[in-house]
């Protein structure tokens, strides 16, 4: 499998100035990962651990107060390499939507309220291709048909659509140009389970037909189980475990991941389950050593002093924990 994007040592901090002192929020701290062609990569982790920030960095959308402190993201698209974090806005425009697109968190407000859906699609197509208006229209309509979305939606305004429909329209908008990589930030959160199911099915369908790389962020492990081929688990701005989906669910190695998987209630099982003890750390003021050690039941001295690296402990299974896997 070809790697379509590689990220090395990403560090992205929010710098917040209040009064005379600046605090940095280390939302993404030393994260390295890569994506293969035609895979669904899921990023899991509890809220506020830096998932959205990571996605923004990967997409090249870095604006104050967020700053990329270290690392870079390289895309290999049609044989060309793009160093996305050192590209100008004009250069970025050329690859966006054609090659890389983005489904933002909270689809409710990303559609221009006073523009019909059709016009919004047209805006995107006109901007990135040289299609004529008629071509564009037929393209949009056939795409909607292909996705099983009602075509009449095109003539509605965003507010006339239900939440689930709006989310699906946003997904269609992000994929209408058949991009190579799609970043989706919590595309199903805040949706009803029934609606959520529709959205997940839509994403699956697109992935199957377009064979592109889908990077999906959510903290709902159920969604990951349905969609992802590989999963990366984040904690406090770091990637702490990465493996194929089956592996993560069957054999979670990091204590945090273990809590995450095991605390999920399941039908037919009312036995008592334990959640992760303690509460997540503040990214502005991380504990020393492994950031998870205050909540970790198996932590010892080294965990408090030194931070573990993410290393491959089994085939395609990486973990950042002193207590896990092969000797370090």
């Amino acid at each position: 499998m070809e790697k379509i994007a590689v990220a090395e040592n990403l560090r992205a901090y929010y710098f917040i100035k209040s009064g005379d002192k600046t605090t940095s929020i280390r939302a993404v701290d030393n994260v390295s990962l890569h994506f293969f062609e035609n895979e669904v990569y899921g990023i899991a982790g509890e809220s506020g651990c830096g998932k959205s920030t990571l996605l923004k960095v990967l997409f090249g959308e870095i604006k104050p107060p967020l700053k990329l402190v270290d690392g870079e993201v390289v895309f290999k698209l049609d044989g060309e390499e793009y160093r996305i974090n050192s590209m100008s806005l004009d250069q970025l425009k050329k690859i966006r939507w054609k090659y890389v697109s983005y489904v933002p968190q909270g689809s409710m407000s990303v559609l221009n309220p006073v523009r019909k859906i059709r016009r919004i699609f047209l805006d995107v197509i006109e901007e990135h291709t040289s299609m004529s208006r008629e071509e564009a229209f037929s393209r949009i309509e056939s795409y909607f048909e292909a996705l099983g979305l009602p075509v009449r939606v095109l003539d509605s305004y965003p507010h006339q659509l239900s939440g689930g429909m709006r989310q699906r329209v946003t997904i269609a908008l992000a994929t209408v140009l058949n991009p190579k990589v799609i970043f989706a930030d919590e595309p199903t959160t805040a949706l009803d389970v029934v609606v959520q199911r529709g959205v997940i099915q839509l994403l699956k369908k697109i992935h199957k037909e377009q064979k592109n790389t889908l990077v999906i962020v959510t903290h709902d492990m159920g969604v990951h189980a349905h969609l992802a081929t590989r999963i990366g688990v984040m904690y406090a701005g770091r990637l702490i475990e990465e493996a194929e989906t089956h592996e993560i669910f069957k054999n979670p190695l990091h204590p945090y991941t273990r809590f995450l998987i095991n605390s999920l209630p399941r039908f037919g099982d009312r036995s008592r389950k334990e959640g992760t003890p303690g509460s997540p750390p503040s990214l502005a003021n991380l504990p020393s050593g492994c950031p998870f050690h205050p909540r970790c039941p198996i932590a010892d001295q080294i965990c408090m002093e030194m931070e573990p690296d993410l290393i491959e402990v089994a085939r395609n299974h990486k973990v950042a924990c002193w207590k896990v896997g092969v000797e370090r």
Binding site: F59, E61, L92, K93, K94, R96, W97, Y102, P104, G106, S109, V110, L111, N112, P113, V114, R115, R119, D123, V124, E127, H128, Y157, H159, Q160, L173
Partner: protein, 334 residues
């Protein structure tokens, strides 16, 4: 049907009570004060003529009769409505026996012509330029222009207009000193007449446009600055859309909505006239009529102007509310 019952009728009820309460206040304010409008007319006469004091008292009676100032407050109020509903605003006190309606009819076309045009121009200018200023708020040019607008905005209109007058009527005598058109011009639809009217209207219009533009521009700028951070604008930028497209189809289109209300109110407010402009440029219009009416305590004229202006603003708001769903698809007649 649903629209009529659930939206139009309640909205019309609101319209009616706004007008009724408004007129009532306008009726009450001068009447609850100790001012006697007739006294002023008598005073002027007394000063010039040798009218005997007895004659004055008799004249007063005649006048009270003529102006509907007889009877209790309530009777006067009922009478007022009787007259208003018939479209009769009574005679002017100063220009007796001319009817108030005829005075307003004389002034209104000028005011409407001047103010509709200038309001629209300054609104459009303010909207477009303000949007650009807000959208590129970091740019140097934007900061400079914003600064200029902020400095112009608070200059009292009178001073600003007088400066224009000195500049373009005296230092560079390009424009006439005032009036609606040249003396001796016959009102017609000929080119020369229209040109003449434009020439006379330019300076008053310019003064209104520049100051109006500064106001609208600053207002729009702030709106746009906030809109710039709306999710859909941020996302449009992420989608790689051109700035011009984002500015006009995403930002401006949305910035327009709140400003449309302002426009409606201003257009409705036209009935108040542009007092200062009219006084300074001796431009015919409702403003001087109102000004002189206030000074001469010409009740009927004041009530009529207030009446029209309340009706106009209320109507503008009503029309706006009815049109709003056309401009803003989010709003429906519920």
């Amino acid at each position: 049907m649903k629209f009529i019952k659930s939206y139009l009728i309640p909205r019309l009820i609101q319209y009616v009570y706004m007008v009724v309460i408004g007129i009532t206040l306008v009726f009450l304010i001068p009447r609850l004060s100790p001012v006697d409008p007739i006294e002023q007319i008598l005073n002027t006469r007394l000063r010039i003529q040798n009218t005997t004091p007895e004659a004055v008292i008799k004249m007063r009676e005649v006048m009270e009769e003529l102006y509907g100032l007889k009877g209790t407050l309530w009777e006067q109020y009922v009478n007022l409505w009787k007259r208003l509903l018939k479209g009769d605003f009574g005679p002017s006190m100063v220009y007796y026996p001319a009817s108030v309606i005829s005075l307003i009819r004389n002034s209104l076309p000028w005011t409407i012509g001047l103010l509709t045009l200038t309001t629209l121009i300054s609104w459009v200018l303010g909207l477009v330029i303000g949007a650009i200023l807000g959208y590129y708020k970091e740019s140097f040019g934007s900061k400079i222009l914003t600064g200029i607008l902020m400095a112009i905005n608070p200059i009292p209109y009178y001073i600003f207009a007088l400066t224009l007058l000195l500049l373009f009527c005296y230092v560079f005598p390009i424009f006439p000193l005032g009036g609606g058109f040249s003396v001796g011009q016959k009102i017609s639809l000929s080119w020369s007449f229209i040109l003449d009217v434009i020439k006379h209207g330019t300076l008053p219009a310019l003064s209104l446009i520049i100051l109006g533009f500064a106001g609208w521009g600053l207002g729009t700028k702030i709106l746009v600055q906030n809109l710039r951070e709306e999710d859909y604008v941020v996302y449009a930028r992420m989608m790689g859309l051109r700035n011009s497209k984002i500015l006009f189809s995403y930002v401006l289109r949305n910035a327009m909505l709140p400003q449309v209300t302002g426009l409606g109110l201003s257009l409705g407010g036209i009935f108040g006239g542009a007092m200062m402009t009219e006084i300074l440029f001796t431009y015919p219009g409702i403003g001087t009529l109102a000004y002189n009416a206030v000074r001469a305590n010409d009740y009927n004229v004041m009530i009529a102007i207030s009446f029209f202006s309340i009706i106009a603003v209320a109507t503008a708001l009503l029309i706006l509310d009815l049109l709003y769903p056309l401009i803003d698809p989010r709003i429906r007649y519920r």
